[in-house]
Symmetry: C2
């Protein structure tokens, strides 16, 4: 299949497990969810993301991620479903967001702009159309998503941009992070928007 339109974007993703907040707004470390790795890696591969970073400082959680990746990239999973391993190849594991930024700089010689997503209305200073224009101009961006009840303020405050929340067609505003990433990638990089 030859695509008529294809954008060579400079986009990276990070999924944060610390610092995030629980439902009471307290700072916590969340556990890694297996399907976050699969679903977000598959969406990232579909939309041409360069790298997908799993951020957790916990040794056992990093080991878990590496075990899952080994199964699908080198173990039985790679034979059973090679398309899955193509997507999971995008994943890398880091201790902190700072480590992610250092790795991207090392890898691409660029310091990406950091973009956080927040379901809270009012904080945002960038919509998908504006970000889409920046991506088309070649801006290097790291899109940062939170697990649990969302990113800690300490990450939101340091970001270069805060992306508008996803509003659907009702007042209900509680998508899974897997759905939110998929929808935002489609809005930013879907064939009708590039």
């Amino acid at each position: 299949m030859i695509l008529k339109k294809q954008l060579n974007s400079n986009l990276y993703l990070a999924l944060i497990h610390y610092p995030v907040v629980n439902k009471n707004g307290e700072k916590i470390v969340s556990a890694v969810t297996n399907l976050d790795l699969h679903d977000i890696a598959r969406a990232a591969k579909t939309y041409g993301i360069k790298k997908f970073y799993i951020v957790t400082p916990l040794k056992d959680q990093k080991e878990l991620v590496n075990k899952i990746l080994f199964h699908w990239k080198n173990g039985y999973g790679a034979k059973y479903n090679p398309k899955r391993s193509e997507a999971l190849e995008l994943i890398d594991v880091c201790d902190t967001l700072e480590d992610v930024l250092s790795k991207i700089k090392e890898f691409s010689k660029e310091s990406p702009k950091t973009i956080v997503t927040s379901a809270k209305k009012g904080l945002n200073n960038l919509d998908c159309k504006q970000l889409n224009n920046k991506i088309k101009l070649g801006m290097s961006c790291l899109l940062i998503f939170g697990t649990a009840w969302g990113l800690s303020n300490s990450i939101i405050e340091k970001a270069d941009f805060i992306l508008e929340p996803i509003l659907g067609n009702t007042e209900y505003n509680h998508l899974s992070v897997r759905s939110a990433v998929s929808i935002i990638l489609d809005r930013l990089l879907g064939r009708n928007n590039i």
Copy 2:
């Protein structure tokens, strides 16, 4: 929060576990995935879907779904996260697609048009823009999604419409059903498209 634009759509979702195909194209019954219920119900609630049907003929799988629903709607989960129970309220379990259609007819006095999604290019006869126009005119629609390696031909052949596949920004075309549902609902009912 008061929404400026809100479409009172007549849309239903069904997630099929039989008949679907495995990677060799053989007809199988797939197992229910817990996160399919959560993610798709949350996306359905966000975009104003009327009902989300889980289709499986297997007694133990139906019991599993009902156990999960009980936990979140009546058990500890309902206290822990009431927003989750609001979404899971949309779920109903049926043996077959025919049962889904009968239930919708009973519930709404309408026979919805059936719309299947297929990742295979060439079969489709409807794009999201065209379907969006039909929804705006009030057409009652049942969007049918397959688990495993997709819907069996016996379902695809009987559908009223086949929706275009989701193309991202690369040639990779292997989204999870959770991502695919989220993206299609956003394309059909997202605030910028209504």
